[in-house]
């Protein structure tokens, strides 16, 4: 690598973050700039490193449940789902059907609120302040619904091996149905206010384009990958829980730019609403918790469990050694791979486009650092 001095005096280094309005967390990006152009962005990670994987290996497995919620604070329930899923798979436990439905319902609500927050934040990164307040109004409704049943608003610790900690009631079902109606009525407004906005379109169309091939090389998953035309969604590609029972589409776009990722996510909101509707209709009766031995030891062996987080493929890989403490736990988080694309994607880009790109990758930094 050549140094700045060799490349000419007109290059300078701009330090973006760890405290910067559009890195949304403690991400630091060292930008080598030429005027307003970013010549070489290098992300610096680790400001929020809390050794989650090591923590999983040094204490009995149930103690990791709260940690699962604290990696990606925007999709805590989906992280819950992944962790209980991998333990169940390793220990050979089946959750009750009702619990599986409740898991799907709460996960989809969680995905919705993550997408809504992302929608507001992306537009905020582009300089419009108002949409985030509207999406927060919607998001608030989800948080209220989830708070009633899970007891918390952000870092849920709701799912247990064999089921969920508390059964949902009629109030929850009614509230969710009302929310579905409300959210459907809101989407035309976002279409007009955001998607149809000429400045917004000009800002993110044809920005940060990449090919499916590049996406594969970097292991991109989630809406960013689906924006390039590959319909890869864990809910379909490697079905888990009761997702095969629902009828929903995997939205894809072909352009692979920021606009494609945007459109995919906005259309996913509608698909999540569809899943919610069907799940509420089909919700079976029965216990929300299966019979699980009090002292569950993890058998020796490996298990892998992948779930689709709002940002892409989340994989838990758990190795047990017969004790109640995991021998090794590896977590594959989607944002890490998505971020690793940044240097290649944003080379030669304007600073404002870099902000748009980071916004459309939908990075959650604690998930990357974990």
């Amino acid at each position: 690598m050549t140094t700045i001095a060799e490349q000419g005096e007109h290059r300078y280094v701009l330090n973006m973050g760890p405290q910067h309005p559009s890195t949304h967390g403690v991400l630091r990006v060292i930008l080598e700039m030429e005027g307003e152009y970013v010549m070489d962005p290098q992300p610096v990670l680790g400001y929020g490193h809390r050794m989650h994987e090591k923590m999983a290996e040094s204490r009995p497995w149930p103690n990791f449940l709260p940690n699962a919620a604290r990696m990606d604070y925007l999709s805590a329930l989906i992280y819950n789902h992944g962790y209980v899923g991998v333990v169940e798979r390793l220990a050979g436990i089946e959750a009750t059907p009702r619990a599986e439905y409740i898991r799907v319902i709460t996960s989809e609500l969680n995905r919705l609120q993550s997408h809504l927050l992302w929608l507001g934040v992306l537009v905020l990164d582009l300089g419009a302040f108002t949409p985030i307040m509207y999406t927060f109004e919607d998001r608030e409704k989800i948080l209220d619904i989830l708070e009633d049943v899970t007891g918390s608003r952000l870092t849920y610790c709701y799912m247990r091996v064999g089921g969920v900690v508390r059964d949902i009631d009629d109030k929850f079902v009614e509230g969710t149905r009302e929310f579905i109606k409300w959210q459907r009525s809101r989407m035309p407004m976002y279409d007009k206010l955001v998607t149809g906005n000429i400045i917004f379109r000009k800002r993110i169309e044809q920005i940060g384009e990449f090919s499916p091939d590049l996406a594969r090389r970097y292991g991109l998953t989630g809406p960013v990958l689906r924006g390039t035309g590959i319909p890869y969604d864990i809910r379909r590609a490697e079905p888990y829980s009761v997702y095969p029972e629902f009828d929903f589409e995997i939205p894809t776009e072909t352009t692979g730019d920021c606009m494609a990722a945007y459109l995919v996510r906005v259309r996913e909101i509608e698909q999540s609403l569809r899943i919610l509707e069907q799940a509420l209709d089909k919700l079976p009766d029965g216990p929300a918790m299966a019979k699980v031995p009090k002292k569950l030891k993890l058998p020796a062996g490996d298990a892998c469990y992948a779930v689709e987080s709002p940002r892409g493929e989340l994989v838990y890989h758990l190795t047990g050694d017969g004790s109640d403490t995991p021998y090794r736990m590896k977590i594959r988080v989607p944002s890490f791979s998505n971020l690793s694309l940044l240097p290649e994607l944003c080379r030669g880009m304007l600073l404002s486009d870099l902000c748009a790109c980071m916004g459309s990758l939908d990075l959650v930094i604690p998930e990357i650092d974990r």
Binding site: Y12, L14, H20, P21, S22, E36, V123, L124, D125, L126, G127, A128, F129, T130, M133, Y134, E137, L193, N197, I199, F200, K202, R203, L350, L351, S352, D353, C355
Partner: protein, 331 residues
């Protein structure tokens, strides 16, 4: 205050100068307070929240409390700044903002001084602000500030051109640079906005860019440059920039009102010589409301789009407009 008043230096004249200066300062500060409150309240309304509510009735004293807070803050000068320029920048930005108040005709008898070149005077004085922003960005010793300042200079220089070209269209019709003359040329409801709506739109777009307002607020683009050229300023340094911004918005909207909306003209009022200032302020604040509305609705444009918009659309259109106006006037 009538044009016939002798111009020698004697007490009535001195009194008038004092009165004008006090009025100018009152307008500047009053406008900053009203705008600060309006902006926050309206932003709240646009975003379906109440806005400031705590201090006084519906948060009406919020700005006073903010003022006290800002005045009370320690003046921080970061290390390795150019200390003289750093201190000077807010002053250079704010001082020229007061001067145009002298020539703006608020009502037939409410004008500090009618210059024959009032319009050019305002444009010349307001242009000093760019220098202040450049000084602020340079002296802060912060790359974000410098980027913001450089954007500001490029933007202001570019948008000055369509602005002046559309002004010339108006001047061709009125044959005078005097603001009073321009307003009187539009008496009887013959506002220029009806004859040249395109010029009005170009002028308004250019004023948005000149005052660094959204969607052209690139010099302070929070999400990219944290706060642009103001990043390192706090306390009174910041609040002077803040007041200057609102004053420049007021001046820009006053100019738009004078050039295109007939200045003080409107349905007659009692004591119209003075009270028709109400119409003037009503028009100015309607324009300011539009500015606020735009800011809280649109995303920010990108820098190259901003300059493209100016050079590829505004400049050619205003040139054509000038040509058409010249031909029409000649006929």
């Amino acid at each position: 205050m009538s044009p016939e008043m002798p111009t020698g230096f004697f007490p009535p004249e001195l009194l008038r100068i004092l009165f004008t200066v006090i009025c100018a300062i009152v307008i500047v500060f009053g406008n900053a307070v009203v705008m600060g409150y309006l902006e926050r309240k309206l932003a709240g309304r646009f975003q379906r929240r109440p806005g400031p509510m705590e201090v006084g009735w519906h948060g009406i004293l919020q700005l006073a409390v903010d003022g006290v807070k800002l005045v009370g803050k320690q003046l921080m000068v970061p290390k390795q700044t150019d200390k003289v320029l750093y201190r000077l920048a807010p002053i250079i930005s704010f001082a020229p903002a007061i001067m145009p108040m002298v020539v703006i005709p608020f009502a037939p008898n409410l004008q500090g001084r009618d210059f024959d070149i009032g319009l050019i005077f305002i444009l010349a004085v307001v242009a000093i602000n760019v220098l202040a922003i450049l000084i602020a960005g340079w002296s802060s010793n912060n790359k974000y500030s410098l980027l913001g300042a450089m954007r500001s200079v490029a933007q202001n220089v570019a948008y000055e051109i369509p602005m002046l070209l559309t002004l010339l269209s108006v001047i061709l019709v009125t044959n005078t640079f005097s603001l009073r003359g321009i307003v009187e040329a539009q008496s009887g409801g013959a506002w220029f906005i009806f004859f040249m709506p395109v010029a009005f739109l170009i002028f308004f777009a250019a004023t948005l860019a000149e005052t660094n307002r959204a969607p052209f607020d690139l010099p302070e683009a929070e999400s990219e440059l944290t706060a642009g050229f103001m990043t390192e300023f706090s306390g009174m340094g910041f609040s002077l920039f803040f007041m200057a911004e609102y004053t420049y918005m007021f001046i820009a909207c006053s100019l738009t009102t004078i050039l295109f909306l007939g200045g003080w003209s409107g349905p007659p009022l009692p004591y119209g010589e003075y009270t028709s200032a109400l119409w003037f302020f009503a028009k100015v604040y309607s324009l300011l409301l539009v500015m606020i509305w735009i800011r809280w609705t649109f995303p920010r444009v990108r820098f190259d789009q901003l300059l493209n918009f100016c050079w590829k659309y505004l400049v050619p259109f205003s040139l054509v407009h000038l040509l058409v106006t010249a031909v029409v006037v000649k006929l």
